[in-house]
Symmetry: C2
Subunit: 327 residues, 2 copies
């Protein structure tokens, strides 16, 4: 059994807890939190809930520590630090800072002789893998990533900060026409506005100026001004009832040409339709935790990403079973 | 530069030749044929066309030999034999015999200390990878593979063997309703007939009994009797004009559930739409030839499949570039 620790217990941590339960070769040993452990109720029975400060007393009891904090401030510190003691997996998703994070985690992992697997999930993660493989196979071509339909946490937060807004949720929606243009193999050049729209569901405070709220949202730089944005005012009850989930998904499409005169077009499309963004991310992370454990057992160490992991390491099947059943 | 040899020069061999041209880090050294080399005209200038019997004189001149023969009789002999001398890549696709072929190639590769990478292409190959990864991530679920719309060589051959048939082509077509049922996450049980239909385009000989031809095709066991089959009689000109290509493609869909009570459904879909089946297969093979070369340079040897190859090895980019640009 691979012994798993969860460091940070929010939506992602709970998702990891569920995914570990679904994995027959894994057991959850402990959940670590910065809150008072007595106040944190987890889903599993017989599993320790400990304070984050006590994590080092588990060095010999946990094979892989899964970090479930945020990319803004938690992971840049936590992953390199814990990598000095454990095999670690995180879902660091600030794309621009990945090289820096990789170097920091690598330094930690080299000290411990463990594996530090970063940026695991679906983007970065499965989408990255498909961008890389599509580009390696269809050398002469373009790739396109579309996100949604799904909830963007950052944009929902931005809406809720607008004056007069009591609550709100934002969906990123890929534009069907753009998707189909890409699927046709025409390798179009698409602007930000042409690729995605933004749908906002907003609960206004009593007596708030709805026209002003709508204007403020639509003109918000970085978040909304470059997109066709729709603002729908609804009641809190309606928001709670119809928009409580955290769905997401998206598409990675590679379009490329082959042949003597590049006369043949090929389309590779990878898509996800997810009821729960954190639970799917957690499922990817848990599969890759298996890889970190196995590869470290084979003597490998240092920082890695999904690009460094052969698929055999993430599967619960043996190599022989994989070849006989899946190839 | 990675020095490539092509062993066998049909549609796949020509596809490999084109794909090598598109790869900046590779050069084609020689094409090997069992025909009289003087009768074989290739697309590249300045490249040797040699008899298959002379292949061993190239042991020090070729880094990876790409085998482009058929799975029925060529590859079971050629791949294990050439693995004793070269890094080899093949597209062996007789699914049931893969374990046996793997063992034979492994024996050859261990002798030479080279890598023998088998069953590379899209199915087996990219589709296998997606079946494996989907099942590793969404543990509680089902996967479905649909093929088409595309030309099946075996079924086209079967049509042409029917009495009174001058020429013909068969398309395998996935049933849209079944695809959508799978995409809904309902994990349906689907019969052979519910998943695919078969469309035949047949040129009858002068005076042939078309009704009898249609009946013979539709009732042919293994090939057609388990499917809803349509037979369209057309002229040779029409066949040549509208059905000359070798398009193919298909879908691998994994549908699975997560959450405390498995309340959330997720769909992973990978699809291919290919103008030329052999050219796309060749493009996959050439990317994996890069992996065979690099991994052997790192000291690895023995038989392998796509499950054993970390994505970094197939990309022309460096690891740093991949992390910075694609993750």
């Amino acid at each position: 059994m691979i012994r798993i620790g969860i460091f940070g217990y929010g939506n992602l941590g709970r998702g990891v807890e569920c995914a570990v339960k679904q994995s027959k070769d894994m057991e959850l040993v402990a959940v670590f939190t910065r809150r008072d452990p007595k106040t944190v109720k987890i889903l599993s029975e017989g599993v320790d809930v400990c304070h984050a400060d006590d994590v080092l007393s588990f060095v010999d009891k946990i094979d892989v520590m899964i970090l479930c904090g945020g990319s803004a401030t938690d992971l840049p510190k936590q992953t390199p630090y814990l990598a000095e003691y454990f095999n670690v997996v995180d879902s660091f998703d600030t794309h621009a800072k990945i090289p820096e994070h990789f170097a920091n985690v690598d330094a930690g992992s080299r000290k411990s002789g463990k594996i530090g697997l970063i940026s695991v999930g679906w983007d970065p993660g499965m989408f990255s893998l498909n961008r890389a493989m599509g580009g390696s196979i269809l050398v002469d071509g373009c790739d396109y990533t579309f996100w949604g339909k799904g909830v963007s946490q950052g944009h929902s937060d931005a809406i809720r900060r607008v004056e007069g807004v009591a609550d709100g949720k934002q969906y990123t929606v890929p534009v069907e026409r753009a998707l189909n243009e890409v699927r046709s193999g025409s390798n179009p050049t698409l602007t930000t506005r042409e690729k995605h729209t933004r749908e906002c569901y907003v609960v206004a405070e009593d007596g708030a100026d709805k026209a002003q709220i709508e204007k403020t949202i639509k003109e918000m730089p970085n978040y909304f001004s470059d997109y066709d944005t729709t603002v729908n005012f609804i009641s809190q009850e309606e928001l709670n009832e119809n928009h409580a989930g955290i769905p997401h998904g998206g598409f990675v499409i590679r379009s490329g040409k082959t042949g003597v005169n590049k006369e043949n077009t090929h389309i590779i499309e990878y898509s996800l339709k997810l009821d729960s963004n954190p639970e799917f991310t957690a499922s990817v992370i848990v599969a890759y935790a298996r890889a970190a454990y196995r590869m470290n057992n084979e003597g490998m160490c240092g920082a890695m990403t999904v690009f460094d992991i052969a698929p055999k390491y993430i599967s619960p099947l043996t190599n022989e079973e994989m070849r006989a059943k899946l190839l």
